[in-house]
Every structure is written in C-alpha cells, then in structure tokens.
C-alpha cells in the first residue's frame, strides 16, 4: 500500500541518486568522442566516483528513513508532469519507501563495488571508458526503475536497464555471438515488455492512473486483477528470465563478467521480483495470478538448477543458478503474505553472494586467459587463494550452509512454501538439494582435483582492485542474514507489502523445515563430492539433452512468416495494386486492335453505337 508524504529535507535529493550516474553516463558517452585522451585517463574514475556518490546518498537516505517514524518513511518527490492528456496524467515522480530504499542500497552498493572491480578487469580494453559510461547508464536506469512512483516511470527504467543490458552484453561487438546475444536479450525482454505495456494500459483503464498510489482494488473485479497480475508476470518473466522467457540469460554471459555480476545476477534480473512485490496489492487480491507466479517460479527453479548441472561454462552455471534463485524469489512473492518480504530478503542476499561468485568467476577467467570452461580448470585453490576463499563464502551462502546469508533467506522461503502446500515445499526443498549439487560440482571442477589447464596458461591471482570488492562481497555473503534478525525486514517492508504478521502454520514446525533443508543440502553436496571429487582428468564436455527453448520454436516459423509476408507483399498486395495498370495496359493493348485502320470498321462501330443509343433511348422510355 503506497501512501507517501511529500519529500523534504534530505529526501528532496532523491533525484540526485539517479542524476549522478546519469550525468556520468552522459558525460562519458558524449565527452569521449570529443576529448578522447582526457576521458580515457579519468573517465572510469569519474564513473566510480559518481556511482559511489550515489551509494553515499542512498545510505544517507536510508539512515534518514530509519530516523523517521513509520508513517513518513514513504516519500514522494514530484519533479514535473511528464505528460498529461487530460485523462491520462503521468508525473515524473520518484517514490522513496522501505522497498526502494533497500534496492537503492543494493544497487548502488553492489554497483559501486563492481565499478571498482571493473577498473581492474577492463584495464586492457581500449573501449574501457565507454564501458563505464554504459555501467553508469545502467545504474541510472535501474535506480529509475526502483524509484519510479508509477508504472510508466518504472517502465522507463525497465527499458533503460534493458538498453544498458543490451549495450553491455554486446560490448564486445566484434564477436558475432555477443552481438546476437545482446539482441536476443533485448528482444526477449521486449516480449515481456508487451505484458508490462498492456499492464500499464489495463491499470490506466482500471484505476484511471498508472500511479502505484492509485491502485485500489476495492472497485475492481477479480478477473481484471487476475489479468493485470498475469500481464505483470509476463513482464517479470522477461526481465527476470523466468520460464518461458528465460533463454536470453545464458547467452547474456557473452558480456564482460562484471556485467554479468551486476546486471544478470544482482540487480536487473531481480526487477521482475521487484515488480511483483511492488504490485503486491494486486497480487494479494488476484488468486489465479498468484498461482501463475508460483507455477512459473517452480518450473524456473527446477529448470535453472538443471541447466546448472550440465553446463561446463562457469558463467553459464552461475547464470542457471541465478535463474533458479530468482525462481525462489518469485515463488516467495507468488505465495504472498510474508513471502514478499522473504522474496526481497533472498533477493538481497542473492545479490551479495551471486555478485561475489560472478566476480570470482571473472577473477578466475582473468587468471585463465578468459577461458570459461570448467573442464579446463582444476586445482585453482592454490593458484588463486583470495578468489578461492571469497568464492567459497559465496558457495556456502548459496547452498544455504547454516549461518550464511543464503541459509536464512532460503529457509524462510521453504517455510512459506511448505505453508502453502506439501508439493510446493517439497519441490523447493529438492531444488535446494540440486543447488548444493551443482555448486559443489563447480567448486570441485574449478578449485580442486587435477590441473586440466590448457597449455600456456599460468593462473595467477588478480590485482587488488579486483580482489577488494570480492572480499567485501564475501563478507556480505556471510553476514547478509542480519536483516532478518528479529523479523526486522518483514516489519520494515510491512507498509509496502501491506501484510500483517499473519501467522503461517505449515504442516511442519519451523525448525523441522530448517533441519530438512540442511539435510537435503548435505545430500546434494555429498553426491557432488562423490561424483566429482575423484581426480577426474576428462576435458570432454558434459553431455546433455538439448531441450528446445521458446525462441527455437518461435524463430524459424517467424522467419518463414517474414519471407511469406515479403512474397505476399511483392506478388499479392503489390500485384493487385500495381498489377492493375499492367493488366489494364495488356487489355488495352489487345482492344486497340479493334482500331484496325479500316475505315469501314470504324463506320461499323459508329453504326453499332447508333443502334445502341437508339435502343437505349427506347428501352429507358
């Protein structure tokens, strides 16, 4: 429920949170072609400083919000009216509330770390400055997404992150695969955006506004709300890589690794979860839509986990895992009630540990000459100790090792899942086991076992500037669980998600769920250890069954359709339009032969006409 107060004090600077990175992006992208030397020298630091500034500001806002009483923590800043047609009025409004406050911290925090990391990671790229411009652009868009006070503003950010994602995935454009992946990501996102666009339209038609504060379910039929929910879900599926729109995420790993960490793990892909939590008022009243969310989430959890089990590309393993984990978040959000808070909780912890692991993977690649194939790794724990240790923290967090961040957040989700139904609970539980399995596989293949390095590769630890952020993120992966102490997060988010502390009673007591979870995870770890623990020397790719994705099913007929349309246009439509004259000319060409040149034929036609006219007159009279 959004019921904000006007911005004042430090909150009148909300806009600056977006403006800082935006200014960075603008400066760098426009300035670089004008003054290449200058920007190549300082451009990346400018970006880092602006991102950091944004983080500091976010922190200040968060502290200010903490200092306020609960009623005035939701703050809206009206910048100006974006467009207003009389009926449809959309303000350029920013909303700072408990939810966006957390996101702000996550985005700017992790974002800043990744900026710093990238300074090292991209050091040798000649287009590094532009990379930072894009990163800043992404930050601005993502912040716009979470700060917008209405769906249109959200959509602005939503598409903005899509654009930034496109630019960054395809950053190495000279690789056709990267360019294709970038396009694929944008297009599939746009498929989701159709849903979001329609949701905007429907919300306007239903509520007369696109503002979050205008959402009022009292006068609205359940059908409408269900449709609204489903449309939002379609949007969320696209952005958050949920089945069936998941296909782009693995390809997106073509982008530089910091991008994968920032966009395709920590922030952008979680926008779908944000969207659903932000629209909790709708989903609470839309039973069918919520169920749809749960179903999509469960499928994605399993699908993502399964992918991770068979991929040899370390980034793809992590990407699959991301899908799966976002599935957990969606699951929680779909289950409603306290699930919203748990979804956000998992989102935050996942942001930490997954960013950590991605950056770790980047560090590994850095050491391995950009090789991403796990089968070429092995025994790196000694070669790259810092990376190993920080990665291990992330590993423990994701599998839910008790005490680590992931343990707390996943546990909560399993609780609500079991509270919903046995089936949901068990699927979620088993998937946790699978998570443990594939992550252990990754650890085993990368850090332990035999060296399977290709020739000429000499792994080495990454520079400080890269390991620094790793350490910070590792720490957060360990400590992320603090948010949930005493149910703080649930309480904090309560005004946004509009749920009370509805007691949820599952079939199992809470402690039993935790124990079960630990047990299942242990089994997963053990299984993986058993399978991959031996000193396997194979570098053969792991075989797997290729299941056609939706784009595989849609694209060939789509291209056929295009070709068909082209042919139709050329021959049928234009044939009729332009063929008319041609046919006419042909007919006339034949008919003109009637003009034989014989004067008697002419006379005949005169006589014929005479009879015609005479008869016509007689007949008409």
């Amino acid at each position: 429920m959004v019921n904000p107060v006007e911005a004042g004090g430090v909150f009148s600077l909300i806009w600056l949170v977006i403006a800082l990175p935006l200014a960075g992006a603008a400066l760098i992208l426009i300035g670089r072609p004008l003054a290449p030397a200058l920007f190549d020298r300082v451009g990346h630091w400018l970006a880092v400083v602006l991102a950091g500034g944004s983080f500091v500001l976010s922190l200040a806002l968060f502290i200010a919000a903490l200092g306020r009483d609960e009623e005035s923590r939701q703050v809206v800043q009206h910048l100006y009216t974006w467009f207003d047609t009389g009926d449809l009025s959309v303000g350029f409004d920013l909303l700072y509330d408990q939810l966006s406050g957390l996101f702000l911290l996550l985005i700017t925090g992790v974002g800043t770390l990744i900026h710093v990391y990238s300074v090292g990671y991209m050091a040798h790229d000649e287009r590094r400055t532009r990379f930072f411009g894009y990163l800043n652009l992404f930050l601005a868009a993502m912040l716009m997404l979470v700060l917008a006070e209405n769906y249109v503003g959200l959509f602005l950010g939503w598409e903005g992150v899509g654009l930034a994602s496109y630019l960054l995935i395809g950053f190495w454009q000279h690789k056709p695969s990267a360019a294709a992946a970038a396009k694929k990501a944008f297009v599939m996102n746009r498929v989701g955006d159709m849903g979001l666009s329609l949701a905007i339209a429907l919300s306007f038609v239903t509520f007369g506004s696109t503002s979050f504060s205008a959402i009022d379910i009292s006068d609205t039929t359940t059908t409408t709300l269900n449709w609204l929910g489903i449309l939002l879900l379609v949007g969320a599926c696209g952005k958050s890589a949920q089945v069936p729109l998941q296909g782009w995420l693995l390809d997106a790993m073509e982008g530089p690794t910091p991008v994968s960490a920032l966009i395709h793990a920590a922030t952008m892909v979680t926008a779908g979860v944000y969207l659903i939590v932000r629209s909790s008022a709708i989903f609470d009243a839309a039973e069918a839509a919520s169920t749809a969310v749960v179903v999509v989430a469960l499928v994605t959890i399993i699908w993502g986990a399964a992918l991770s089990c068979v991929k040899d590309d370390i980034k793809k393993v992590l990407a699959g895992s991301t899908m799966s984990q976002i599935g957990y978040m969606m699951l929680a959000a779909g289950l409603g009630g306290p699930g919203y808070a748990f979804a956000i909780f998992h989102l935050l912890t996942h942001g930490f540990f997954k960013a950590n692991m991605f950056l770790g993977a980047g560090s590994l690649m850095h050491g391995m000459n950009d090789d991403v194939n796990l089968k070429h790794y092995g025994a790196l724990s000694r070669a790259m100790p810092v990376t190993f240790l920080t990665f291990a923290m992330g590993y423990l967090a994701i599998i839910g090792f008790p005490g680590f961040a992931g343990f707390w957040s996943k546990d909560k989700i399993l609780e609500v899942a079991f509270a919903e139904s046995w089936l949901v609970g068990i699927i979620a539980l088993l998937a946790a086991g699978v998570t443990a399995f594939y992550m252990t596989r990754l650890m085993m293949l990368a850090f332990f076992g035999r060296k399977r390095w290709p020739e000429g590769v000499h792994p080495h630890e990454s520079p400080r500037i890269m390991t620094g952020p790793l350490v910070v993120l590792a720490a957060l992966s360990v400590l992320g669980g603090v948010f949930t102490l005493g149910g703080w997060l649930e309480h904090w988010l309560e005004p946004v998600t509009a749920i009370g502390h509805a007691e949820h009673h599952g079939p199992l007591p809470v402690w039993a769920t935790s124990v079960l979870a630990v047990l299942v995870v242990a089994i997963g770890v053990a299984a993986a250890g058993f399978v991959f623990g031996r000193r396997s020397a194979t570098t053969e790719p792991t075989p797997y069954l290729h299941v056609p994705h939706i784009e595989d099913v849609v694209v060939p007929p789509g291209m056929a359709l295009t070709r068909g349309a082209l042919a139709t246009d050329k021959y049928a439509v234009d044939g009729v339009m332009s063929g008319g004259p041609i046919a006419l000319a042909a007919i006339a060409g034949e008919l003109r032969k009637a003009q034989t040149g014989y004067v008697r034929s002419y006379a005949l036609s005169v006589l014929g006409g005479t009879v015609l006219v005479a008869l016509a007159l007689i007949v008409v009279s």
Partner: protein, 101 residues
C-alpha cells in the same frame, strides 16, 4: 396515292438502311459515298413527307438545303477520293490503312 405518312417514312427508313449497309460493305470509295448520298436522300424523303404531314414547308426547305449541302459535300469528297486514287491507284477504302491502333 396514300394519305398515310407512315408508308413514306417506312420507305425512307428502308432506303436509309440500305444506304448504311452499303457504306459498311462496299469497298469502292465512290460507291461508299454514293451510299451516303442514298442516306441523305432517304432523309429528304422523310422530311418531305413530314412536311406534308404537318402542313408546313419547313421540311421541304430543309430538303432543299440538304441537296445544296450534298452538292458541296460531293465536290469535296470526290476531290479527296481523287487525291487518294492518284497516289495509290486504287479507290478502295480498305487500302489506305497506315493509321491504326
């Protein structure tokens, strides 16, 4: 001697028809032209008959004019036919057909 105009008009219609058919079927330009004259004569007959029917002389005057016109037309027509004949050595109306299509 009939007092019924219809008979005269029907006769004129028959002559007119013969004239038109002649124009269409004869190839000698002079004969074609004679057929046109027959058509004019048919019209004259109708005019004279109608003149008597209506009891005024307008028809007769018109017929007279038609004769004058016909005379002029004949001169021009025959001159043109002669020209064609001199260049092509034929009086057939089918012969000159460079202009077509």
């Amino acid at each position: 001697m009939t007092d019924n105009t219809t008979a005269y008009v029907i006769l004129s219609a028959i002559l007119f028809t013969i004239g038109t058919i002649g124009v269409l079927t004869r190839r000698n330009a002079i004969v074609v032209f004679m057929c046109v004259e027959l058509m004019l004569n048919a019209a004259n007959l109708a005019l004279v008959a109608f003149s008597r029917m209506h009891g005024n002389l307008d028809g007769q005057v018109t017929a007279f004019f038609v004769m004058v016109v016909a005379a002029a037309e004949v001169v021009v027509g025959l001159a043109i036919i002669m020209t064609i004949f001199r260049t092509r050595n034929t009086a057939s109306v089918d012969e000159p057909r460079m202009l077509k299509w």
